[in-house]
Symmetry: C2
Subunit: 337 residues, 2 copies
């Protein structure tokens, strides 16, 4: 299992802030400059000033299109005959969309319990979907066989430097958008699955005096455990609403990129994720998926600490691909209270 | 009843595009420049290019803050001891918020069946709420008595020139935001209650070659009937999801402002409003209230006509103050299908 994340050589790929800036130039006009949403209600509730980067409004419904476009573009330029990727959902949607736009065949490998909404979106893009097991190793095995049998290029969701740099453009944009309002972020909070968002954020925020805070479900503490062990390791996965944050191991490239510059890791309980989804919908009028709600829940908790009161806190609302039945049940539950 | 809308002299207040431009200057930095949201899903579904002005993300949860701030500011500058307004909800929330910010007492008069969410938001701003009957005349009577007994100034939701010019700034911003993307709107679709949004849009769009299209619930065809009779008239009100569009009569100032420049009025059935709310939530990931969904439903219908296929169509997503129970029941209904 320890070889899972080593198919791409990492040591010779030390990403820096300039890779994120290059990624922004390459992505200009190809992804949406999503809005930064404010909410007086939320700010009052938290006692801080939240700046919500609404990547749930991004094409494909999440920030993952950023990295996928760059990686697939590089592969197509190199003569790719097809691309294959594994994902719990959003990276797969993004790769399917990028492949369609760049005119290359795509196969996506998702867990058997992937959100049906996400599977539907991938099939809508004309890509092939393969469902494989429930943990990362199951999906990796299928990706490897597709690579061997068909000669497809693997778009790794955590290990590809274009992916990590691309995901960092969301935070780079957020920092710039807040500056254009005459303010400066004190912290930015991002959800952690495989780690590309938080690694990209560490690159984007380098030299900016912005604390980068990671949020992960208590049910899947892959970053917390990696930090404890000094390296990525597999963790036992308990059930979580945050289907986008279920990778049972953080990627080596994201881990190496963020380990020394991360400010804090907060683990979020399931009840906090659920309440945060509800609050985001009713107070900010944005539909977000549980992964994004995990980041906002962590930001709400962060804001209770005296040092963060009244500060400017950015939050990556990473995506909006959520099962309608989950939203319906949350509304029913909280409305009844 | 025919005197209801004549408390402000209209004839000598011929609003023009420059009033909207002045309003924009006065509002700069005081209201949010709300984002214009795109949705590939929605565009594909409709065969047109939609530009959704997300005023559900405005402070107070609707575009009505724009006009309210200007009108209350004028009254405070003239030495007001308090302001009073009637509304089905959003104008009242906006006046309460404006009054709090400008340091003046406010009383708001709503129908007895007003949305509890809206009543809650008004009370949260520290304003007084009075519930009166279910039709416009009931509320007008209470407003008049508050004006006489307490000397409060009336912030009329339809007749105040600052309100109409202020509401027009939402459309003016939308036109500018689309231009900044190198595009030009061919049409803009707005919901009609008392008529301030559509009147403001006619002013903002003057000389721009943009068709202004009004959308009203078939259950409350106040603009359709006013156009048929050549003047505002009271209509019978059937039940509608669109609580924000229930005024049973269009305002005289909005009617005079828009009657000659409106391109089209579309009436929207209740089932279309419900489906449109659901589609907006799940396809654009924005929570909107039924009034906003009414405009989007009309825009979807408009786009089916050959002349609008592939065109750029703006939609005012007027607000997001919606009962959670309604959203829950819509999700349950459509998810089950």
């Amino acid at each position: 299992m320890s070889e899972i994340n080593t198919s791409v050589a990492v040591a010779d790929l030390p990403l820096t802030r300039s890779d994120v800036l290059d990624a922004r130039l390459r992505l200009a006009g190809r992804v949406r400059r999503t809005p930064v949403v404010r909410s007086d209600d939320l700010d009052r509730r938290a006692g801080a000033r939240f700046w919500l980067k609404a990547e749930n409004l991004q094409r494909g419904g999440s920030f993952k299109l950023r990295g996928a476009l760059l990686a697939v573009e590089r592969m197509v330029a190199a003569g790719s005959v097809g691309v294959v990727a594994q994902s719990t959902g959003n990276h797969a949607i993004a790769v399917a969309l990028a492949a369609r736009e760049l005119g290359v065949t795509a196969t996506l490998v998702l867990p058997e319990d992937a959100a049906p909404t996400k599977i539907g979106r991938i099939r809508d893009s004309g890509a092939e979907v393969i469902l494989a097991g429930t943990v990362l190793a199951d999906r990796i095995a299928v990706v490897e066989s597709v690579r061997e049998l068909r000669g497809y290029d693997v778009v790794d969701p955590y290990q590809d430097p274009d992916v990590v740099a691309g995901q960092g453009t969301a935070t780079a944009e957020l920092l710039e958008q807040v500056r254009s309002e005459g303010q400066r972020l004190d912290a930015v909070v991002l959800p952690v699955g495989g780690g590309s968002a938080v690694a990209g954020a560490c690159l984007a925020a380098a030299g900016e005096h912005v604390a980068v805070v990671a949020a992960e479900p208590a049910a899947v503490p892959a970053l917390t455990e990696a930090l404890r062990h000094g390296q990525p390791c597999n963790v036992a996965v308990r059930p979580t609403l945050a289907d986008g944050l279920r990778p049972d191991r953080i990627g080596a490239l994201p881990f190496d990129t963020c380990r020394s510059s991360l400010s804090e890791v907060l683990t979020v309980e399931e009840a906090e994720i659920a309440e945060s989804m509800y609050v985001t919908l009713t107070h900010t009028r944005l539909l977000v998926e549980p992964a994004a709600a995990t980041a906002l829940a962590a930001a709400m908790r962060l804001a209770t600490a005296p040092r963060w009161q009244g500060r400017n806190i950015g939050v990556l609302l990473s995506g909006g691909n959520v099962e309608e039945s989950l939203v319906a049940s949350l509304l029913a539950e909280y409305t009844a209270q």
